[in-house]
Amino acid sequence: MINRIPSMELAERVREGHLRAIARLITRVESGGDPEVRQALAELYKSTGRAHVVGITGVPGAGKSTLVTQLVHEYRASGRTVGVVAIDPSSPFSGGAILGDRIRMGDLVSDPGVFIRSMATRGTLGGLARPALDAVDLLDAGGFDVVLIETVGVGQDEVDIVRAAHTTVVVNAPGLGDDVQAIKAGVLEIADVHVVSKADRPDSNKTIQELKAMLMMSLEPGEGIWRVPVVPTSSEKHTGFGELMAAIDRHSEHLERSGEITERRRQIALTRVVKVAEEIVRDNFARDSRSQTEELLKKVTQRELDPHGAAVTLLKAMKETIHESH
């Protein structure tokens, strides 16, 4: 048995930028988060809000990990420290995951100004958003200037995660025409910056033009409106990553100057509060699924009660049982 350091003590060390303390608290958060962990997080939340949070998403194979690696190099060259939360899918069968981002990010470690953490999408108590965003808070409180969240751009949870970022970067790759179509309605429209990766490939121009044409259509007239840029990058030729960092910085400045940052912060708060509320409800539902729930389900299947009515009844009953431990 090992000496288990209390979470509140770890929280103190997180404030001092202690990497091991950050790592351990992320583990505890990911494991469900007992009341003491929640308390530590609540305390540390007061020290957050300084980091610029960048969400990076795109279809599998678009080159997100490579892009993140290059982007981290750019930030480091500009003198800023960077935390990365890299999210990989879990096996739907075993719940296990192979987290492979480290393979590409290998040369980033052994730099105390960089912290990389891999996370699996596995249902950590109902969803991925809460532990991932708690991890972002921990890196923020730990003093990192920039926090990058990298996730596969499929599924509502992932969209929620990028919604909790100040700047959202969508990575598009040439030759993935149908995939671009597939995410167009979802993540494509939440992009603050578009990247076309693998820009050394001859068909990248087509992707760039398509994106620009699409963005043109949704352009609103007026002054002081953010024009979503399309940044071509190539890890093969090491081009575009400085431009990408500059575009993210410009977006950050735009948010501050236009005052949009206030609305964005409100949006982030909304996303997070709703997300946690959802989780608490789901968790509660799963916990006391025996007695009352079964009763209600029977009534719904027998058409004595409609699903909406049953849900309202359940929520009313839940009100009594929800406690602060979540």
Binding site: D107, R122, L125
Partner: protein, 141 residues
């Protein structure tokens, strides 16, 4: 839907290849087996330095750091890894080794502080079981 106990039980493992050793078929098979057993496996890729691996393992806060060595450099690499873990106050991390290691060296590695050596031809289920046991013995962290 998972409950608290289930999610808390997810074991995090880092599988690492250190130094001039290009044989990664075995470690990939192990990675797959551990994943299929419900563990989160962080794979480092080839040709890492002990420093890189230890720093990454600390950031990932893995329960177990598994190092596969088929290059014969185990008597150099394990002491280095253990020393780095100690220097970085991460001695509570479980260190496991796998690959081609002579019996005499295995004994010495255990004395040095390596928690488990699993030689080539160890069936995947045995690796899974021993990892679970090591984590259970260590207790909550």
């Amino acid at each position: 839907m998972q409950n608290n106990d289930n999610s808390a039980a997810v074991i995090r493992v880092m599988l690492a290849k250190i130094g001039l050793d290009g044989h990664d078929r075995g470690i990939k098979v192990v990675a797959r087996a551990l994943r299929d057993a419900g563990m989160d496996v962080v794979y480092t890729g080839l040709h890492r330095t002990p420093e890189e691996v230890v720093d990454a393992a600390i950031q990932e806060d893995v329960d177990i750091l598994g190092i596969s060595l088929l290059s014969g450099a185990h008597m150099h690499i394990f002491p280095k890894v253990l020393e780095l873990l100690k220097a970085k106050e991460a001695e509570d991390m479980i260190v496991a080794g796998g690959g081609v290691i002579p019996d005499d060296d295995v004994k010495e590695l255990y004395q040095m502080g390596v928690d488990k050596i699993l030689l080539q031809d160890t069936p995947p289920q045995e690796i899974i079981d021993s990892f679970r046991q090591l984590v259970a013995e260590r207790g909550a962290r």
